[in-house]
């Protein structure tokens, strides 16, 4: 065992959160708000809730996560509502399940605002220190030790180390052993985790350059505006309070010249030269990757996005790279509008240690170390929103454990958070995991517009959602139900004025009487339009009308998914005992047995989702479990 320097000072607290990024902030706030004495450690107080990559929160499926975090009583949604500089609802022409909110953040403001929340949270202490060691006795976590030797004894630790563990940044041949944005890396903790039997692996990711705004010629780019009507992320934010002037983003493109330069210098890219050992994500490829893998594409989009109101730095979305500085300059300057660009910060790739997440329970506690919870990029995910989502769950569950209550485990039919965590702990992820709507099999039910209806109740039971906020959700639920019922039971006849109304909207005439609900199902008739023939209509808030319309228009599909969910729930309820010995189940195929041993699924549903486990294996397992149950009964 390697020795950690210890001084004599010992503090006693309930929970230690290691890292104050998006996971760490949510985790720490959740614990403190539930009354536990909590310390959150960060290598730099100035980097709380730092956004070291893209300057936005939300986006497809990530917007869903933010809403869910908010519904559970988290901070991310409220914080971006305070600090955004542009907002857009994506996919509005598509179905309601894939609408997704995305906001450009003022990065510095976002970080400052979150820091203020943390610093003023009762029961929460913010401490600048690198954690070097975790004290573990009898497979139970007891405390942490800082680099300066102070011991913090505690009952739970939440590791949210992001990309800081043994971080290495690469910009061509130039390599620095730092975390993101040149911040100090955490070089000591990995070794101690490994000594305690925790399995780590190495991932990598990257970020593009930041440009000086004054060196960019925006006349050669297309301006990208925000939405006219801004929708807040948080259910607690009053929409009227956030209507404000927005800042534009800009769109330009790479070209053949750009690609030529990249191809000619591939041997100087650390990835292509084999210097990087970590596995990178395929979904946000570096510009080198794009040019190599999609050679047939003549151009790639480049989004120029402001990093904030009080800085000239502009983020160059779509062109992350680990090429050397001179190649970066050459390459960026081929892009229309960037001919004279000056780089403020170079693009770079970053490699870091992270967890093999199949060591986790769905509560985000390590299976083998009681009281040790993990969240965020350390678990092999990527993205601020994915991190925050795990952060709040780890925070809640560490608290539940200390308070002697049951953990909160969201399943795949309840939330994107459930899909995210289930995928992390049961699948063999070979790259940083990003949320995508296609990963959610029940996405028609898991919409960003109904996260409050899905999760407020849980947040309230946990104790993170106030009675007042919860009452609002219950009231909303009631209004939706009443209005759906009313529309279904209000009928109109085939009278002259109704036929004229229909004709006006190019809708086919009625043959017999029909309900307003049925008319609403016609694509050409909106709820608003139907007001004309629906005089009894009550006044309702926008959010209620939205739910009513979705409910009625997509009822068939929604019912179908609800049915699938019922089936799904059955298999989730069939638990597999922790002490099961798969070698005792002789009829299992070898591959299935190995996978089951590796992932240790908690229930039959989880087992069935492990790749390499067939339906026949699941049947065999069911029979085995029943056999064991009967045996116990006989004894």
């Amino acid at each position: 065992m390697s020795e950690t320097f210890r001084n004599e000072w010992v503090e006693n607290v309930d929970v230690c959160v290691v890292g104050a990024g998006h996971a760490g902030c949510e985790a720490a706030l959740a614990c403190a708000r539930l009354g536990l004495e909590t310390v959150v450690f960060t290598v730099s107080i100035d980097s709380i809730a730092l956004m070291p990559c893209n300057p936005n929160i939300g986006g497809s499926s990530k917007g869903h996560l933010v809403r869910e975090v908010d519904a559970l009583g988290g901070e991310m949604g409220k914080n971006i509502d305070k600090t955004f500089i542009q907002s857009k609802m994506l996919n509005v022409s598509k179905g309601p399940a894939v609408h997704s909110l995305r906001a450009q953040a003022d990065k510095a403001d976002y970080s400052r605002s979150m820091r203020k929340i943390l610093e003023n949270q009762e029961h929460l202490t913010v401490k600048q220190a690198e954690i070097c060691d975790v004290i573990i006795e009898d497979k139970t976590v007891k405390g942490v030790v800082t680099y300066t030797g102070t011991t913090y004894m505690c009952k739970a630790v939440i590791l949210c180390t992001g990309t800081y563990l043994k971080a290495r940044c690469l910009c061509g041949e130039a390599i620095t052993y730092t975390g993101p944005s040149g911040l100090q890396a955490a070089n000591n903790l990995s070794t101690h985790l490994i000594e305690n039997g925790v399995k780590l692996r190495r991932f990598k990711t990257g970020t593009p350059a930041r440009m000086d705004k004054r060196s960019i010629d925006f006349t050669k780019m297309e301006e990208q505006f925000g939405d006219e009507r801004i929708v807040p992320f948080s259910y607690s934010t009053d929409p009227e309070s956030i209507q404000k002037e927005q800042i534009s983003c800009w769109l330009t493109y790479t070209n053949e010249e750009t690609h030529k330069i990249i191809r000619a210098n591939l041997d100087r890219s650390p990835i292509y030269a084999g210097i990087i050992e970590g596995t990178g994500p395929r979904y946000c490829p570096s510009i080198e990757d794009k040019v190599v893998k999609f050679a047939e594409k003549e151009r790639h989009q480049v989004f120029i996005e402001p990093e904030g109101l009080y800085t000239n730095e502009m983020y160059v979305g779509g062109m992350s790279s680990s090429l050397p500085e001179d190649v970066q300059l050459k390459m960026y300057r081929t892009v229309p509008g960037l001919e004279n660009c000056k780089i403020v910060r170079n693009a770079y790739a970053i490699e870091y240690d992270c967890l093999e997440p199949n060591q986790l329970l769905p509560s985000l506690e390590l299976k083998e170390i009681s009281g040790m919870f993990c969240a965020g990029q350390f678990n092999g995910s990527s993205g601020y929103e994915e991190a925050a989502a795990q952060g709040i769950i780890a925070g809640i569950n560490a608290s539940m454990k200390l308070l002697g209550r049951e953990p909160v485990i969201l399943d795949r039919s309840q939330a994107y958070i459930g899909v995210l965590i289930d995928d992390l702990v049961t699948k063999d992820n070979r790259e940083p995991y990003r949320m995508m709507t296609s990963r959610a099999e029940y996405r028609l039910l898991l919409r960003q517009d109904n996260a409050d209806l899905r999760l407020r109740k849980i947040g309230h039971e946990v104790g993170l959602v106030s009675d007042e906020d919860y009452e609002k959700t219950l009231e909303k639920e009631r209004l939706i139900e009443e209005e759906v019922l009313r529309l279904k039971s209000t009928t109109v006849g085939a009278s002259k004025n109704i036929q004229e109304f229909l004709e006006k909207f190019g809708s086919s005439p009625l043959k017999t009487g029909t309900s307003i609900a049925e008319l609403l199902c016609r694509p050409e008739l909106s709820y608003e339009a139907l007001a004309e023939i629906d005089p009894e209509r009550p006044f309702l808030p926008e959010a209620v009308i939205e739910q009513v319309c979705i409910h009625i228009k997509y009822e068939g599909y929604i019912e179908r998914q609800k049915h699938q969910v019922e089936q799904f729930k059955k298999t989730e309820k069939k638990l597999i005992p922790e002490d099961i010995d798969y070698d005792d189940v002789l009829s299992l195929r070898l591959e299935a047995r190995q996978k089951l041993k590796q992932f240790k699924p908690l229930n039959i549903g989880q087992a069935s989702r492990i790749s390499g486990v067939t339906p026949a294996d699941v049947s065999v397992l069911l029979v085995y479990l029943e056999q064991q149950r009967l045996r116990k009964q006989h004894e």
Partner: protein
């Protein structure tokens, strides 16, 4: 899934005897009631009490399919502790299959391998001590099903299904990547393009389904292979069997595999005759081609016709073939008995252990063919050879999967016509993709995510 009503043919399939189609689950009686009428033409299965048996007819619409006895066993007093219905029909592969199809199209689902037994156990009907056996049944039957399904799917059919699946997942990945990254990938005018693709997929899958319904898809019969070294008269035998007056030769162009096969119906027995003789004509093969061929078919054939040239002594090559096939169902044919035979019959007998038939024939002069036919028929009736039941099931399974893929594609077209947003298309496309996957034994797993990342350039 577990509460569904399942159905299967529960007797060995053969041309004679009684066939039983068994249903188990909540809706068994309701489903059977939809297709069964009593002698007087009444629908009253629902009113009968448990453990009774009823005479009547199975109907497909207005058409009578078969005269049957239907027994009803209500939960929990049945083998599976669920509602169970058994339809005893007059057997015959065609009738059994027809009734099973009727049951399936009226709301039952085809049982998974070993599923009746599994349910019986899980519902406490089978003794604890039998659990191991139950698990073995499940895993061995499902392996067999997969092996059969793959065995029958070599070649062009497999390729076709792959092609349809690839096209399908490509479209899903395109839609999904556009949803995940709307600023990089646009769906403008996409519904028109998708309509074209789905129309093609629908056309292809429909034609596959139609041929599977006609039984042309996988030919049902005893897989029979003629092996022997070159120039022993294999082709002559094939020709004489095909040229036989009673023989019916079906042409299954378009659905057959690379190997040429012929379907021959002798009096009561159907044979899939694997004619590998053609290969030799086009390629200059070395002497051991007979061995290679025997190797290839020994594992999968139900019956092997091993030909020897009676005018020549046993060679090393003959012995090699014997080694490969000696534990299979073999009929040894000494050919060319119209000429001077010098081969030592005792020598051959010594090489084979156990029982087998040795016939002397002349393929060229049609001598001994009657006896050959008789021997095959006897073996079939005695049950020495049977075309594996799984094959019929596989066939139904495949037809079921194709039908469900077809329905899914139709739903996609409906969604497009109704102007639903694009994310709704991928729901049904994904269903089609996984249905087609069932045919070739591949599940979905992370296919979609992989396809998205490899085919489409995502942003950031």
């Amino acid at each position: 899934m577990d509460n569904n009503t399942i159905a299967a043919i529960s007797t060995a399939l053969s041309e004679g005897g009684i066939g039983i189609i068994r249903l188990s689950g909540d809706d068994s009686i309701v489903i059977a009631d939809k297709i069964f009428k009593t002698k007087k033409g009444e629908r009253k299965l629902l009113s009968f009490s448990s453990h009774t048996i009823h005479y009547g007819f199975i109907y497909d619409g207005d058409e009578i399919i078969d005269e049957v006895m239907v027994s009803i066993m209500k939960a929990p007093n049945s083998f599976t502790r669920e509602n169970v219905v058994e339809i005893n029909c007059h057997g015959g592969i065609l009738v059994c299959k027809k009734i099973l199809n009727l049951v399936l199209s009226n709301g039952a689902r085809l049982a998974e391998p070993g599923e009746f037994t599994k349910r019986a156990f899980l519902n406490g009907r089978i003794d604890l001590s039998k659990a191991e056996a139950v698990m073995d049944v499940i895993s061995s039957q499902s392996e067999l099903a997969l092996k059969n399904s793959l065995r029958q799917l070599e070649g062009r059919l497999y390729e076709k299904i792959k092609e349809l699946r690839d096209k399908t997942i490509y479209e899903i990945a395109f839609i999904e990547s556009a949803l995940d990254d709307p600023e990089h990938i646009s769906l403008d005018e996409y519904p028109e393009r998708l309509t074209e693709t789905v129309n093609y997929l629908l056309k292809e899958v429909t034609s596959l389904y139609e041929s599977s319904k006609k039984g042309k898809f996988v030919k049902e019969g005893i897989n029979t292979v003629i092996v022997g070294k070159p120039n022993v008269g294999k082709s002559s035998l094939l020709n004489v069997l095909l040229g036989f007056e009673r023989a019916i030769v079906t042409d299954v162009e378009g659905t057959t595999r690379d190997t040429i096969e012929e379907h021959v119906t002798l009096k009561n027995v159907s044979l899939n005759l694997y004619d590998t003789a053609g290969i030799r004509d086009t390629e200059d093969y070395v002497e051991n081609i007979g061995v290679e061929r025997a190797k290839k078919y020994a594992d999968t054939a139900d019956l092997i016709l091993f030909m020897l040239d009676g005018t020549r002594p046993l060679t090393e090559e003959d012995e090699q073939i014997i080694d490969l096939i000696k534990n299979k169902n073999v009929i040894v044919l000494l050919n060319k008995i119209d000429k001077d035979c010098i081969i030592d019959k005792e020598d051959i007998r010594k090489k084979f252990s156990g029982e087998y038939a040795l016939l002397e024939i002349s393929a060229k002069e049609s001598i001994g063919i009657d006896s050959l036919e008789k021997v095959i028929e006897d073996m079939f009736i005695e049950g020495t050879i049977s075309s594996k039941d799984e094959m019929y099931i596989t066939n139904i399974r495949q037809a079921e999967a194709l039908l469900s893929a077809k329905n899914s594609y139709e739903l996609v077209l409906n969604s497009i016509n109704d102007g639903l947003p694009e994310d709704f298309y991928s729901i049904d496309l994904m269903n089609a993709y996984s249905s087609l996957g069932r045919i070739i034994g591949e599940d979905v797993d992370d296919d979609l995510v992989n396809e998205i990342f490899t085919k489409f350039c995502m942003g950031k």
